[in-house]
Amino acid sequence: MTAGAAPGKQPPESRPPIRVALPYHLRNLAHIEGDVLLDVATPATIRAVLDALEARYPMLRGTIRDYETGQRRAFLRFFACAEDISLASPDAALPQAVTSGEEPLLIIGAIAGG
């Protein structure tokens, strides 16, 4: 099951919603199943995706990036199209495959355990 885009909103520039895959615990915290589909302002960047995610699911504020600095939490990484984009600028444009909805933006927690 997939959480749908916000009702009544049209994706900016008719772009399809961006698909975000969250770690298990954040899906639980936000009471969602599956990937999240988000209408994201242009230009579609990590910052814009997180802004849209937190606006839709305010219970996630502070869990992915610091409230004040916006810095990514240390044990989380961002992946797109099989590439680690964690260290890219939060204002860098996301790959076209992500902005087209073809590929998800993955938010992944560090592996726990041995």
Binding site: H25, L29, P58, M59, G62, R73, F75, L76
Partner: protein, 393 residues
């Protein structure tokens, strides 16, 4: 008929254990917030259905949770699940704990001492302890790591620091214990709403008499031979402090080593370890109806965090300290190497006072006869971080 609700925070979630006044048959509900560390959860004395919980994770940080129905359902304060957020800037930021800065310079109020002796900036990590107001369900205090005291007056939706504590001048001499620089004890004086006691590892105990605006260290009489100045004003590793509400000027402390007592609101302390087999430990509490009856769980040492000789024993003093008796009926008599953490002991208020404690082995033990006999009411939980009890009418 009265009943009892035991709120258990564990390394991997929260559990609610409930029983009627006989305290024989226990119902276990949970895990709530499965997979997250629940350092502490506690109910409001003013409204027993109002509970607050601290949910933390090394991955995702601090999350605050609230229940308005006695723990059946939970939500982040001001952020109810299943409802679309109101347009505009959020009015509730329940997970945000922002340290105050100097009003004069706009810079951080102070630094603290790092393990290597250098000065280190304050960095928020988690909420260790929640203390709801005695009179207002929407007011709750939070003791956090790095050590500071925060307060919410809107049911946990927003938090503000009581920065007179960090800013009173001794901050640069505070240093983290092995578990972090945590503010773990908050005691509200039931007879004086302006008076609050707090304790920090490893800084010591502090008191305000003006509702949190100004603070002073209250560590005179503490002696810690393992720090550079054994009689220092601050720097002591206080593990926990307890008070009986009928005698708010009498405090009992489990320090790193030493069980201590103050009869003047913390201005002076003296040791009451007496005949304890070891006076290292974490938990300490006071009987609900006998202000001179104390409970501690002696732990072998600061490097061996388990009971002496593999025998789990609570020690009770009925004389306000110094003279202690072991309580072992129903507790493991051999091969027991668990720990009992600082916030993992509590008492109920029934006529036959109930005493409860949880272990790092996941057991919660209860006594319904002031400690004379014990039985496990949960055996196989994750490591227990905190135990609180609500006595319900």
């Amino acid at each position: 008929m009265s009943s009892v609700r035991v709120l258990v925070g564990t390394h991997k979630g929260a559990f609610v254990l409930s029983a009627d006044g006989k305290r024989k048959d226990w119902k276990v509900e949970g895990p709530f917030f499965a997979g997250w560390e629940i350092y502490h959860l506690k109910g409001s004395p003013a409204d027993p259905n109002r509970l607050y919980a601290s949910q933390t994770s090394g991955w995702f940080g601090q999350v605050m949770q609230r229940s308005d129905d006695g723990g059946k359902t939970w939500h982040q304060p001001g952020v109810p699940a299943g409802q679309a957020p109101a347009p505009g800037p959020p009015t509730a930021l329940p997970n945000k704990f922002k340290y105050d800065v100097s009003p004069e310079t706009g810079k951080p109020l102070t630094t603290h001492q790092w393990y290597d002796g250098t000065q280190h900036p304050w960095e928020f990590k988690r909420v260790w302890h929640l203390e709801p107001s005695l009179t207002d369900p929407d007011t709750v205090y939070a003791g956090v790591e790095d050590a500071a005291l925060f307060r919410s007056t809107d049911g946990g939706e927003n938090w503000n620091e009581l920065s007179g504590l960090r800013g009173h001048g001794t901050g640069p001499r505070w240093q983290p214990g092995a578990g972090g620089l945590g503010l773990h004890t908050i005691i509200l004086d039931p007879t004086n709403p302006k008076r609050i006691y707090i304790a920090i590892s490893a800084a010591g105990a502090f008191r305000t008499d003006d509702g949190g605006a100004t603070w002073k260290p209250i560590n005179k009489g503490l002696r810690s031979p393992y720090i550079p100045d054994p009689n220092a004003e601050v720097g002591h590793c206080v593990h926990h402090v307890a008070m009986h509400p009928a005698r708010p000027d009498v405090l009992f402390m489990q320090k790193h080593w030493d069980v201590m007592r103050s009869d003047d609101a913390g201005d002076n302390w003296h040791e009451v370890s007496g005949n304890l087999p070891t006076d290292f430990g974490f938990a300490i509490d006071v009987h609900a109806h006998e202000p001179e009856t104390l409970y501690v769980v002696p732990i072998k040492s600061d490097s061996e965090h388990f009971p002496l000789d593999g025998k789990l024993r609570v020690y009770r003093s009925r004389k306000g300290g110094n003279e202690w008796e072991p309580l072992s009926n129903g507790l493991p008599e051999k091969d027991c190497y668990v720990n009992v953490l600082r916030d993992a002991m509590a008492v109920d208020k029934l006529d036959d006072c109930g005493v409860y404690f949880g272990t790092t082995g996941g057991q919660v033990y209860a006594s319904s006869d002031s400690g004379d006999s014990w039985a496990p009411i949960a055996r196989d939980l994750p490591a227990v971080l905190s135990v609180e009890v609500q006595t319900l009418q």
